[in-house]
């Protein structure tokens, strides 16, 4: 059964409308995508010249045309067009069914009636556009590149980068002018000079002035103050090695034990002071490179300290002799031995053994020299005050003479007291009974002073957290106030 002409005509008409809408749809898409390179072309109108505008317009038009052609070439099936017609004209799928069943061999008796019915209805339809326009998503953004093209076309040409970074130094502009004014001058220069000129400033190696420890003035926040007594102070920073292996300064910062504690008072310890100076003197240098003058000064200081009771005078003498003979390495060895002895002596003084009276030769010798014979209350030197400590009196007993108070019956002794308000609340106590009438051998301020010194040494030498330092000092301060 042949298709009725009216149905075919309707389908062709609808298909043509679909193609036209497709052409519009794809033309807009093509125009959008072509406008993007057009923007680039307009942006480069400087080097391209006046042809850039024409090229950009041509690109947009070509894109739109290509899209339109693509839309026109796309095929619209008869069934799709028929269905569109059914939907648009409210034909309840009559056209689609009629066209589909008219070609079938197994068509039923009702198909003829269907075709006739559909034909009659289609013939009565008005001719109108039924395919709606579908705007592509790109159409919404099309004004952006189009406006960009117009703006760039009206604006002056964008200068291209010259390959040389701008020189913002005061003389940079003059040099640039000079380079522009005489191109022949540049050719006359040596190739190396020209290359140096073109090298970007950021790649130039910075010239650092050598900083010696004494000469360089350190400012607040300047880490060089930390290194001023070390061999690193005179070294020149090498950024390459800094980047590759890490700066020696940073490595030194990681070694906490080698860092000087600027907050602590090193004069409180002879050994530490001398040890610090010796380390600063050596500082990782070859003994032969050490300044003999400074080494001699250090040895003389050690000798002076040794005269106060040290037993390192022999080593210091050896060092002086070696230094006079020009053997710095031997002098350093002798100094190291003297340092070891100095440390051993100081350790002995600060250790618990040092508190035991009557055993230490040092203390014995001290007594022979007439020091430590009772001592005044204000004498806070540990050695001098030894005899005042419990069990450290001048007694044949290893633990010193016992306090008389201890001989009293404990039942005769009582304690009474009252609370005291002040900056720090406390409790004042007094002995009562027979024992309370006996005087103590210990002088309060003297004992406190000795323990205060022990505390300061412990803070300096032991690993007491820094946050506790002020707390401990406040405690002893409070004891002093009593």
């Amino acid at each position: 059964m042949a298709h009725p002409e009216s149905l075919d005509r309707l389908v062709r008409r609808v298909a043509a409308q679909v193609r036209r809408r497709r052409a519009e749809h794809h033309a807009l898409r093509g125009a959008f995508w072509a406008s993007l390179p057009a923007v680039v072309v307009i942006a480069l109108k400087g080097p391209i010249g006046p042809r850039a505008v024409a090229i950009a317009i041509g690109l947009v038009v070509a894109g739109a045309l290509a899209g339109a052609v693509w839309g026109l070439l796309k095929r619209t099936s008869q069934a799709d067009a028929a269905r569109l017609a059914d939907r648009a004209f409210g034909l309840d799928d009559r056209v689609t069914t009629a066209l589909e069943w008219a070609e079938r061999s197994d068509r039923t008796s009702l198909v003829d009636g269907l075709v006739a019915d559909a034909t009659a209805r289609v013939s009565a339809l008005p001719s109108r556009t039924i395919v709606r326009r579908i705007m592509p998503r790109e159409a919404r953004f099309l004004p952006v590149p189009v406006l960009a093209v117009i703006a760039l076309a009206l604006a002056p040409a964008v200068p291209l980068p010259s390959g040389r970074l701008p020189d913002f130094t005061p003389g940079g502009e003059e040099e640039e002018k000079e380079a522009r004014s005489g191109s022949g001058v540049l050719e006359q220069r040596s190739p190396r000079e020209a290359r140096d000129k073109l090298r970007p400033p950021s790649f130039e190696e910075r010239e650092f002035s050598a900083r010696s420890g004494a000469a360089a003035a350190s400012t607040a926040g300047d880490l060089s103050a930390v290194f001023k007594d070390t061999s690193l102070a005179s070294q020149r920073p090498d950024f390459n090695s800094f980047l590759k292996k890490g700066d020696d300064r940073l490595k030194l910062l990681e070694q906490v034990d080698r860092l000087p504690d600027l907050a602590s008072d090193f004069t409180s310890s002879q050994y530490k002071m001398v040890f610090k100076k010796s380390k600063a003197l050596a500082g990782g240098m070859n003994p032969k490179d050490i300044s003999p003058k400074k080494l001699k000064e250090l040895l003389e200081e050690m000798e002076r300290l040794g005269r106060k009771g040290g037993n390192w005078s022999g080593e210091v003498g050896e060092g002086m002799e070696a230094l006079e003979g020009g053997h710095s390495d031997k002098a350093m060895e002798a100094m190291q031995k003297a340092l070891d002895k100095m440390r051993a002596q100081e350790d002995a003084q600060r250790s618990g053994k040092g508190l035991r009276g009557g055993r230490d030769n040092e203390r014995g010798s001290g007594r022979e020299r007439g020091r430590g014979d009772g001592g005044g209350a204000e004498d806070q030197d540990f050695g001098d005050a030894e005899g005042l400590l419990p069990g450290k009196g001048r007694s044949p007993s290893p633990k010193g003479e016992a306090s008389r108070r201890l001989q009293a019956s404990p039942y005769d002794v009582g304690v009474e007291g009252e609370s005291r308000r002040g900056r720090k609340d406390g409790y004042d106590t007094n002995m009562t009974g027979r024992g309370g009438q006996m005087g103590s051998r210990l002088q309060y301020l003297g004992v406190i002073g000795q323990y205060r010194k022990l505390m300061e040494d412990a803070i300096t030498r032991e690993s007491v957290p820094r946050d506790y330092h002020s707390q401990i000092k406040d405690y002893f301060q409070a004891l002093d106030e009593r």
């Binding site: 679909v18 799928d93 069914t97 009629a98 589909e100 039923t108 008796s109 009636g113 019915d117």
Partner: protein, 337 residues
């Protein structure tokens, strides 16, 4: 007679039959249309509604409008299958010889009203299965055909669930359409009062014979269906299956079992009747959409979540249709091809 004349005759007969029923039944135009669709499509119809809405009256009126035998079975819990199908009884002939004789049950009628079908036990309900599907019953090893046309109209009450036996899925699937009888509007209620409270009862005429019904059934099957309409019906049925690859979210979430192929048959057959009743020679997408809810609401089984959330199957079917329509519209959009 030309095809046009046959179609026109059907349209006239359909409208005449509807008009006769509407003499008694007030309102419920869509219900009456769908009952007639079911009858001309050769299927059976399940009417669901609260008591007093005229379900039984509708079926009785329809049977009175047709020159067909009518049987009413009041389903009760003690009803037995033999009470429906019939049984062999010992009878004595004139010569005194005894033999078994089949006594047909009420199912052997053209129009069977299964009133309150969910009050009988599943065993008795199942007695209708063979008859509804194959238009025959087997009793005592002998298969006995049912009269043609055979049309079952069943009613059930959705709220009185005490002492009821919900129809099994197999039984439900036998019904071409399931119609929900709504409460009448006030104008309809006023009309009901006027018609039923005066002394002169309304009488209806028999406007159609069984032969005509069968002839129209033949004609209906000749209505052509376009491929895209058939695809639309298949798409709807497939979309009711939660396991389907392109099933919509509502199906995946709330549906336990989707519609069977009988659902697709119901959509197309019903669409054909609807199209022809409007004087149209082809099935349209709108026909399928109009019949989707009656044809699928009893074939889509909700899962626990759907039951717990009180999902209405009609709404579910509507959402499925929208989903399929959207998918089809996108796929058929000429610009996107």
């Amino acid at each position: 007679m030309t095809q046009d004349a046959r179609v026109q005759e059907f349209v006239t007969a359909f409208e005449g039959l509807r008009a006769e029923v509407e003499k008694v039944i007030v309102g419920h135009r869509e219900i009456i249309n769908h009952v007639l669709v079911g009858m001309f499509a050769g299927g059976h119809v399940l009417l669901e509604g609260v008591p007093g809405l005229g379900k039984t009256l509708l079926v009785k009126t329809l049977s009175e409008c047709l020159e067909l035998s009518f049987a009413r079975i009041q389903f009760t819990p003690d009803l037995m299958p033999a009470d429906i199908i019939g049984t062999n009884m010992i009878v004595e002939d004139a010569e005194g010889r005894k033999h078994f004789q089949f006594q047909p049950g009420p199912i052997f009628a053209h129009v069977v009203l299964a009133d309150e079908i969910n009050r009988a036990t599943p065993k008795t309900q199942s007695a209708l299965l063979e008859g509804m599907q194959e238009s025959s019953v087997t009793v005592g090893g002998a298969s006995r055909p049912l009269p043609a046309p055979f049309f079952v109209l069943a009613t059930q009450n959705p709220i009185e669930m005490e002492g009821t036996y919900p129809l099994p899925e197999a039984q439900l699937d036998r019904f071409l359409l399931k119609l929900r009888v709504r409460y009448p509007a006030i104008e309809e209620l006023n009309a009901i009062i006027d018609r039923t409270t005066h002394s002169r009862p309304v009488t209806v005429e028999r406007v159609m014979t069984g032969a005509k019904v069968l002839a129209f059934r033949e004609l209906i099957r000749e209505v052509p269906v376009a491929a895209h309409v058939r695809d639309f019906a298949s798409g709807i049925v497939m979309a009711t299956h939660p396991q389907a690859a392109d099933a919509p979210e509502v199906s995946r979430r709330f549906v336990r079992y989707g519609a069977s192929p009988r659902g697709a048959q119901a959509l197309i057959l019903g669409g054909k009747v609807r199209a022809l009743s409007e004087g149209r020679y082809n099935v349209s997408v709108d026909d399928v959409k109009a019949l989707a809810a009656p044809a699928l609401r009893h074939r889509v089984i909700l899962n626990f979540e759907g039951e717990a959330e009180g999902v209405d199957v009609d709404n579910l079917v509507t959402q499925i249709i929208e989903s399929v329509e959207a998918t089809t519209a996108r796929a058929k959009e000429p610009f996107l091809r």
